[in-house]
């Protein structure tokens, strides 16, 4: 915002407190239109489960992270029809690494059922990266973390391993590419299916969960100081002095 130059300059100073990045994140008025549809509803549910009407974080929140970013595909390409299969390639841009935040979980939420006029499709996603480990979302492995309840047509898949190992520590522009594959339901006739309008549909989005590392850095510093003090007071160090 034009009225915030001094604060924006301050926010560039990394030595300043974390909360100043609120001013840094304020986009201009000319930003893209507000997101709508299921991705927005999902995040509103997540918000309602994590904070009250006034924005106070709930004590019993199960989100397990300080920050959750929903990323929509920046580009999608539709492949020609192959039998009953319809394949769409989705690219998710991953923002640059912020040292203050540690990626703790990555999931992809996608439509596993598509009910269009005359067509019923069952869908799944596959990472483009070879040998990338993915698994259906399992809440038992996530401890106290519970995602918001989802609509029946949507499902969630854990791709933390895939993103962390293959993409997250790369330098430069990082894009997660997923294949969104749909098959006409068995028994139905293979019809000439037109993808007109499909590219604009919300079929999948990425969720990145972060925790801030400031506290862990502070803890490490304190621990380091304690270790230094301990070492200095050890008999060995005393005799060396």
């Amino acid at each position: 915002k034009a009225g915030w130059p001094s604060i924006t300059l301050l926010a560039d100073d990394l030595s300043l407190p974390l909360n100043l990045d609120l001013a840094k994140e304020a986009p201009g008025k000319g930003m893209k239109p507000r997101p709508q549809g299921y991705p927005l509803r999902y995040m509103l549910k997540l918000y309602q489960r994590s904070a009250d009407l006034h924005g106070h974080p709930r004590e019993n929140r199960t989100i397990g992270a300080k920050m959750v970013r929903l990323v929509k595909p920046s580009a999608n390409a539709v492949r020609p029809l192959r039998g009953p299969w319809h394949v769409q390639t989705l690219d998710f841009p991953l923002a640059s690494n912020q040292e203050a935040y540690e990626l703790i979980r990555a999931t992809v939420v996608y439509r596993h059922q598509l009910h269009l006029v005359h067509y019923h499709l069952s869908c799944h996603v596959e990472p483009w990266v070879p040998k990338c480990l993915t698994k259906p979302f399992s809440s038992s492995e996530m401890g106290s973390f519970k995602p918001p309840p989802m609509s029946k047509a949507w499902t969630e898949m854990d791709i933390t391993h895939c993103v962390q190992q293959r993409l997250w520590n790369r330098k430069g522009r990082r894009v997660l590419r997923l294949r969104f594959m749909c098959e006409q339901q068995k028994g139905s006739e293979v019809l000439e299916f037109q993808w007109h309008g499909m590219a604009s549909l919300d079929v999948a989005f990425l969720l990145l969960y972060f925790n801030d590392t400031n506290k862990s850095i502070q803890a490490k510093l304190t621990q380091g100081q304690e270790e230094l003090t301990d070492r200095e007071s050890s008999p060995l160090m005393r005799s060396a002095r």
């Binding site: 915002k1 009225g3 407190p17 974390l18 909360n19 609120l22 994140e25 304020a26 986009p27 201009g28 008025k29 930003m31 893209k32 507000r34 997101p35 991705p39 927005l40 995040m43 509103l44 997540l46 918000y47 994590s50 904070a51 009407l53 006034h54 924005g55 106070h56 974080p57 989100i63 300080k66 920050m67 959750v68 970013r69 929903l70 990323v71 929509k72 841009p93 923002a95």
Partner: protein
């Protein structure tokens, strides 16, 4: 208390009553993100209650304000020694975090817990 330390400082005057009534304290305050010009990117919450601290940090600093010794000394210096040294300032002491749902410039939706967003108590320092 200054009046009990320095015998020439009267304890019960109108000025004293006024300063007691206007002592540094937390004032509830609500503002909408629309008023702040942030409603185009902040989705939730709609209202923000930052609160604020206002009031006089008089020579009698109440115990509950958690003021450091320095504030008490500065208060005495202002009152008894040198008026050009200001009284301590009434500022927030404890804060609460706030969760915000916002839209980033690239269209991503972000849930984030920001520390230090709401003043919960005040102090003189």
């Amino acid at each position: 208390q200054a009046c009990s330390i320095a015998s020439d400082v009267p304890c019960h005057t109108q000025e004293h009553d006024w300063s007691v009534n206007n002592q540094c304290s937390l004032h509830p305050y609500k503002v909408s993100f629309r008023q702040l010009g942030w409603d185009h990117w902040i989705i939730a919450p709609r209202l923000y209650t930052p609160n604020y601290c206002k009031g006089i940090c008089s020579r009698v600093l109440p115990y509950g304000l958690n003021s450091p010794n320095h504030a008490i000394i500065q208060s005495l210096v202002n009152e008894l020694v040198n008026h050009t040294v200001p009284q301590p300032s009434c500022v927030p002491y404890k804060f609460l975090p706030m969760s915000i749902l916002l839209v980033e410039a690239n269209g991503s939706i972000l849930y984030k817990e920001y520390e230090g967003m709401i003043a919960q108590s005040c102090t003189c320092r």
